[in-house]
């Protein structure tokens, strides 16, 4: 009989690994291989090397998608980090993140994206929506929101900010409460005023927490799909066709599998690259 301490449980990882190999690793490799194929409906696919990637570089829709992806990403991430830090510290000061308030805070980011999209469609409807009615009450001219090529990305960013700022705030709150509170007291005794205390004490101490929040939001924002596809399907025109939407349309509406795979692989590389960059950043802001 084996002795207890020497028992190996390693085999218990096997079922999960087999599943992951079949459902994640192989499909990923296949998608990579597919991105090197030229595929057309009704024709045998043929090896094209990096032809699809070369086509990407020449495709105005790709650059448009990249621009919109980055715009949505930077806009949303910026808004959510700033608002989330403000809200998180407010919750800490007011000791408010409990009971009913906490329930209200977690509700938006637990809602299915489809529900958020449907709410946006009804509330932000240019003609009959309650948003324009309320804006009218305070003398603001009606907006087209999702129907205006110039404001559609901003509107989506604001919807996502509504949904995810509480999440960032709760992460900030958790990070803040885990800090040694004496530091803040010391800074107060030293006579550092509100803003100085925030810039020189609170913010540097919160930096690792903010990087964590940024990583989580980056992964979701760079591959943003649901709310855009549900509300505008990438429109009006191509005004909200981000890379993920573009990849989906190429793949599942036009059945250009090879080209779509090339877009998806590029987007994946962007996500992994961003996460790695944040991992480096976290090491440099660690204290």
């Amino acid at each position: 009989m084996r002795r207890g301490g020497a028992t190996s449980f390693r085999w218990m990882v096997a079922p999960a690994l087999v599943f992951a190999a079949a459902m994640i690793v192989l499909p990923f490799l296949y998608a990579g291989w597919l991105s090197l194929q030229e595929t057309m409906i009704g024709m045998p696919s043929r090896f094209a090397g990096f032809g699809n990637y070369a086509r990407l570089a020449r495709d105005a829709e790709f650059w448009n998608g990249l621009r919109l992806t980055l715009l949505l990403y930077l806009l949303s991430l910026g808004l959510q980090l700033v608002a989330g830090t403000w809200l998180g510290l407010l919750l800490a000061r007011a000791d408010a993140a409990r009971g009913l308030v906490r329930t209200v805070l977690v509700s938006p980011f637990m809602l299915p994206p489809v529900v958020v999209g449907m709410m946006a469609i009804v509330i932000l409807d240019p003609g009959l929506g309650v948003a324009n009615y309320l804006l009218g009450q305070i003398g603001v001219a009606p907006r087209l929101f999702l129907a205006d090529p110039d404001t559609v990305i901003l509107t989506v960013a604001l919807v996502d900010t509504w949904q995810w700022t509480p999440f960032v705030a709760l992460i900030v709150l958790g990070g803040y409460l885990s800090l040694p509170q004496e530091l803040f007291e010391a800074a107060e005794i030293d006579g550092a005023g509100g803003w100085r205390r925030f810039w020189h004490v609170t913010l540097p101490l919160l930096a690792p927490t903010l990087v964590t929040a940024a990583v989580l939001r980056s992964v979701d924002l760079l591959r943003f799909f649901d709310v855009i596809y549900i509300t505008t399907s990438g429109g009006p025109g191509n005004a909200s066709t981000t890379l993920n939407i573009l990849a989906y349309r190429r793949g599942f509406e036009f059945f250009e599998f090879g080209y779509a795979a090339a877009i998806m692989v590029t987007l994946s590389a962007m996500v992994f690259g961003t996460v790695l960059a944040f991992a480096r950043l976290r090491r440099s802001v660690a204290w």
Partner: protein, 277 residues
């Protein structure tokens, strides 16, 4: 005088904080409240302009939703897919996370993060071909299997800290007492890790219930989930906002109720993996 000024200042600041918290709560709650209110409005008043804030609530929209569409079947499909993928994800993740924690293996956990980061569209193309070849497109199996790709990493990352905090002696003495490994896992480890399993199960269920993209492509007429069905209502150009908001309200209930149960652990569960990865 100085101290009194300070006290008043503190009071004003505190009041200002409460006002800000109140405003945040209002902004967060208003859209959801509008959705629920619209679901209960009489048909003629849902899209009335100017919008009606006072009305007599009726159940017409829900009646129409369930009577004139297949929404009940769609909801059942959603329950099967979310329940099935939660069970599958947990069944795979529970032993795996235990072994990973016991032997301090970190690479499998890091590898699962990969699945969490890649865009879902990337996997969809190969899956579509795979499931077409197997004749599974349009079946609930395809959805359970693909949604388990979402639930498995979540379950692993939520369970790991619970196993890490478990006293090793318990497992070792069970082994010495002659327990077989799977018995040890079920009789000794599972009861201790139960709180973690509950949190993992709830998060898995909610993630799977909410997930849109895979079912959008891989479901057929009979396996359509409630999420995809509601999306199709929008696509059909249905301007019947009442039924639309009724559908949205129905889909929103499970995640909101379930997360109430694990509120305190929610953010930690969602952020799991990001802290180390």
């Amino acid at each position: 005088m100085v101290t009194r000024g300070l006290v008043t200042r503190r009071r004003v600041m505190r009041l200002l904080d409460s006002v800000q918290v109140g405003l945040v709560v209002l902004v967060l709650i208003a859209p959801v409240a509008w959705m629920v209110a619209s679901a209960f409005k009489p048909r003629t008043e849902v899209a009335a302009y100017p919008p009606r804030f006072l009305f007599t609530p009726v159940l017409d929209n829900f009646a129409e939703l369930f009577r004139r569409t297949d929404f009940l079947d769609n909801t059942l499909n959603s329950l099967i897919v979310a329940g099935g993928s939660t069970l599958l994800g947990l069944a795979l993740a529970f032993p795996a996370a235990f072994a990973m924690s016991w032997h301090r293996m970190s690479w499998p956990a890091t590898a699962t993060l990969f699945a969490r980061m890649a865009p879902g569209t990337l996997f969809l193309l190969p899956w579509l071909m795979m499931f077409t070849a197997l004749g599974l497109v349009g079946s609930l199996w395809a959805l359970v299997l693909t949604h388990a790709v979402i639930t498995l990493p979540v379950a692993i990352w939520v369970l790991l800290p619970y196993f890490d905090g478990m006293p090793r002696e318990l497992v070792e003495s069970a082994q010495i007492d002659g327990c077989r490994q799977h018995q040890t896992l079920l009789r000794v480890v599972l009861p201790i890790a139960m709180p973690g399993v509950v949190v993992a199960a709830i998060l898995c269920f909610v993630f799977s219930w909410n997930y849109f993209l895979f079912a959008l492509v891989l479901s057929g007429f009979d396996s359509k989930t409630a999420i995809v069905a509601s999306f199709n209502f929008i696509g059909e150009g249905v301007t019947n906002w009442g039924a639309l908001m009724a559908a949205a309200t129905v889909i929103a209930i499970p995640p909101l109720v379930l997360t109430l149960l694990i509120q305190r652990r929610l953010v930690g569960g969602l952020a799991a993996g990001a802290v180390k990865g």
